[in-house]
Symmetry: C2
Subunit: 368 residues, 2 copies
């Protein structure tokens, strides 16, 4: 068991910002809160899925809502844990573990806060290896874990437990409507999952991965080295573009931050432009109109000045940045998964054009 140290939190936030593809919410508030909890003496352990028994019962946890709302609506602190606890009460059972609902952005931090509150270990895995805008876009849902019961809990303490629901898409539709009515940014406990299911369908080692990724970037930035090289030392990343933001079209609608980003090229890209389509996350990057990175592959924006990743909510005119492409985890690139998370699932008439390689996944070492 990896007992999280206070000085490891910022690296997780940076790494999750990169894999988050702009989504998952700003990690800033969560980072402050988790650091504070650890300083107070609370502990949270991170555990490989291989150490679970197949019939151990646990629960996924993440935020639901638009990142543009998440940065304006202060969390109360315990809502992530309360959303999990609402399901424990509903089922009349205690969970043995938590699992990260999506390892992107602030959603990598929130389960660690829930674990620190609830005294439960957080498994070193997630069902995305990135962030996605909708609830059904998740290897647990895609490969058949039941999408209910699930719970929402808002910072005012309002709570709801949903289920039965006839599909993960129905869960998304009803949950999204409730999220908007609950203020646009809430805690989501989903799914209830066994150790066996998690071992089969999870993307393993992603909390360790975002930690290594963030540390490599932090070290590069501290040494005035290239952060992109730091990223590429941990995952098979490639530079897609370097430029300056010339237009941000972004609106918060239907519980999502949707929009389009225009970047004018700099340096070797001076005569070119890049457009990136957004739905909470950066979904498709077009260079001079040609798609060069497509969902589920990860499009990350690294700001030149800070050397740090940018979330959807932080975009503004004039920012100079490098666009980086990182291949998705293999479990997101099967035919079954692409039907849910490929470009056509988002309404684009574009084929998935995989970047080379896969997001590295930890080998599952089964205990005993």
């Amino acid at each position: 068991m990896w007992i999280l140290r206070e000085d490891e939190v910022s690296a997780i936030a940076v790494g999750a910002g990169i894999l988050g593809a702009g989504g998952g919410g700003s990690p800033y508030l969560g980072q402050l809160q988790l650091t504070g909890l650890l300083r107070e003496g609370r502990r949270v352990g991170i555990m490989p899925a291989g150490e679970l028994q197949d019939d151990d019962l646990g629960c996924g946890v993440s935020g639901m809502g638009a990142p543009t709302v998440g940065i304006e609506k202060l969390p109360r602190g315990d809502e992530m844990w309360q959303s999990v606890h609402a399901i424990e009460q509903h089922l009349g059972r205690k969970f043995r573990f938590l699992v990260v609902g999506e390892v992107g952005g602030g959603n990598a931090i929130e389960p660690l806060i829930a674990g620190a509150y609830g005294g439960l270990p957080v498994i070193d895995a997630d069902p995305m290896g990135r962030a996605f805008p909708e609830l059904q876009m998740d290897t647990f849902m895609i490969y058949g874990v039941r999408p209910w019961p699930f719970a929402l809990h808002d910072p005012q303490g309002n709570s709801a437990v949903f289920g039965p629901v006839d599909s993960a898409k129905t869960a998304e539709r009803i949950g999204r409507a409730a999220t908007v009515a609950m203020g646009g940014s809430v805690a989501l406990a989903l799914p209830v999952i066994t150790g066996g299911e998690l071992k089969s369908y999870g993307i393993h080692g992603t909390l360790s991965l975002v930690h290594r990724l963030g540390r490599a970037v932090e070290v590069a930035n501290r040494q005035k080295d290239d952060p992109i090289a730091g990223i590429a030392s941990v995952v098979p990343a490639q530079e897609l573009f370097v430029g300056k933001v010339v237009d941000v079209e972004r609106r918060t609608t239907g519980g999502f931050a949707r929009g389009r980003l225009q970047i004018a090229g700099l340096g070797g890209y001076q005569s070119e432009n890049m457009q990136i389509d957004i739905q909470n996350e950066f979904l498709i990057a077009y260079r001079d109109g040609v798609p060069v990175a497509t969902v589920p592959d990860i499009v990350a924006l690294i700001e030149e000045e800070s050397g740090l990743p940018l979330g959807t909510e932080a975009l503004r005119y004039g920012l100079r940045l490098t666009v980086v492409g990182i291949p998705a985890a293999a479990k997101l690139k099967t035919e079954r998964a692409l039907a849910v998370v490929g470009p056509r699932a988002f309404g684009y008439d574009v084929d998935f054009r995989p970047l080379p390689g896969d997001l590295p996944e930890a080998a599952l070492q089964v205990a005993g």
Copy 2:
């Protein structure tokens, strides 16, 4: 205990159509279904609140959503009971009774169907003595019964249990959003209530009242007598207008059927017009621009040809009708209640101008 007979169902539907003020949903489908259940040998008993022990636990039940959707979306049958059962499971307790969530329109019938499915008696009382568009507009909520947990259940079997919520208005906001996402017409189980609370805050005898009211109208229609006189023999009703529908402005928006009805006068009203403002229910009737009936008093429309009440969903150009005003129950006319159900609570800059009298309420005879 009044064991409901098959031949009593239509009178309840007619009476509930009158007190429903156009809302509560069409009773037609529910009437067919309840009649069918009774014909199959199922039974449902209707019991005065006075026979309850103060610590008996029960639950309110009604439909939630726009009546314009309710007539287009066929119920599955058992969703009312399933919504109640979801709360039983959530609490780990069995209920002893059901209570009508609103005695207007189809919502007077639905709890009887739930009672027939669940084998529970339905109390002869409700918290409105009419229908209202929003969940907090209810004497149980107004006088302090806790608005959670509450459950929604849709005809596809999707279900959700809500709570804690910080107020009845929050319950309305979140529940309404979920209702829309669940297709716009769902079963609502609310509130969980004790026998003692029901005795204190309920409007008593309203199921018996709608039955008597409907029977009086059915008898008058059968004998080619005036149905308005039939209504007035049971409740203190007054004729407000007679005319022909010349315009119906109606849209289903935000989970409500909203609109405005224009009626041109006939007979003694020939030189006059009436406008009625609608939000699921008929809220305010203006004669030549002057409010002559204001919510919470009841505005009922009786169609000339059939002698039967019209729901919001049935309005159309050319219908000839009589507009009838019926005073609300006394518990809706306190200062505390008018803050929630008076014209200003609906956004109108109009004072409540009470019609003479009160909706008759049964005396509470405590058993034993």
